[in-house]
Symmetry: C2
Subunit: 225 residues, 2 copies
Amino acid sequence: MSAPPPPPRPPARRGRGRPTSPVLTGDGITAEAVRLLEERGRDGLTMAALARRLGVSPSALYNHVATKQDVLRAVQDDVNRRIDCSGFDGPPWDEALARWAWSYRDAYARHPALVPIIAVTPVSSAPHTVAMYERVSAGLLAGGWPAHLVTNVVVAVESFVLGSALDTQSPEDIFDPGELDAPTVRTANAARPGGDTARAAFDLGLEALLTGLRAVLAQQGPQEG
Amino acid sequence: MSAPPPPPRPPARRGRGRPTSPVLTGDGITAEAVRLLEERGRDGLTMAALARRLGVSPSALYNHVATKQDVLRAVQDDVNRRIDCSGFDGPPWDEALARWAWSYRDAYARHPALVPIIAVTPVSSAPHTVAMYERVSAGLLAGGWPAHLVTNVVVAVESFVLGSALDTQSPEDIFDPGELDAPTVRTANAARPGGDTARAAFDLGLEALLTGLRAVLAQQGPQEG
DNA sequence: ACCTGAACACCGTTCAAGT
DNA sequence: ACCTGAACACCGTTCAAGT
């Protein structure tokens, strides 16, 4: 058998004979990866799929990123950039924290695949992520929190937010015991109001968490400003 | 080239000529999967690795499980079985909830790969998981919580627990801004006490959450018992 | 410097063939 | 009924070769 003719190629984007601007850039890869993740989900974001949408061969990506993990980190930073930290510029810390938490949850509800990554990824190469933490930390400090508790407050709220973001993905019947014997679970399910149940649970938990944090802060006594 | 001789095989576990008890069982696969996950982590749990440790070819597993997701679900239920719900048999609901939350967090800190799974997996084929929810729900109801809030309380605490379990996997320097400009983040990092920082954040958050939940319950007024 | 195409060492899963 | 071994359609990544 002779080799089949090469398949038709997408329109050439490169110049001929002389160096031109590169087809790919790091930012272009990140932007396309965000779209791909939103459209096709975690399993849809493959290096091959990403390359195809960029009109390039998979190996070309490796001139711009070292690994797929790199791409995910960049996507992450891009998502974090859009989280609303504006509350920390004026309103009281608890109100600001609530606004931040809602925005944070909504962002990761759209990108649940990123949850296991942010929990583990160092922040040092993610400028927008660092900027977010800077604003949140400054707001808490200005709100009267002692410096030694600031990071723990951030981590506690963040843990609740990320867990809640995962919960938004759960199917409606997740607590249906099926054939199994669980009368109280059935009772609680039946009594739970319909609608956006993940939202109701987040609302309850966030209110409780903030109430408790206010109590903790009140026990600390006034801080130096 | 002639085919190379077959490699030496592990000691035969099967009888000859007559039907014997099968090499594999669903429970045996689950138990080995738990060990593999603990020893080699998420990426170490492959169907091929699982089969090798069971002395069997990968395709043999598919006589007992439909997909790898099945294996993960069974592992999950096995992990949930060991979570401590004993508090709900006597102590007040808030104390019981705290004990449950700590035990739950510790279990998933050992199995962070399962976190994205439990958040999304229906409970109907997981008997130990249902039994856990049954005890927790009954304890909250007995503790005075109105039925329509029970599931939301469970989900809120669970979200915090699972997010915190992921946080236990974060590297020590996760908040180090590196070259980036983030003075308040630096201040907060420096003031944060060393030791088990994930534990300190969980402790703070859980205390706050429980304080807030007590306040929510107090507003509800007494319930029918 | 940046891209292509072939290749490598894996995945999870299917299926005909054996006993 | 339950296992083997070959095969399939993928992965992420590397690398020599081209311009």
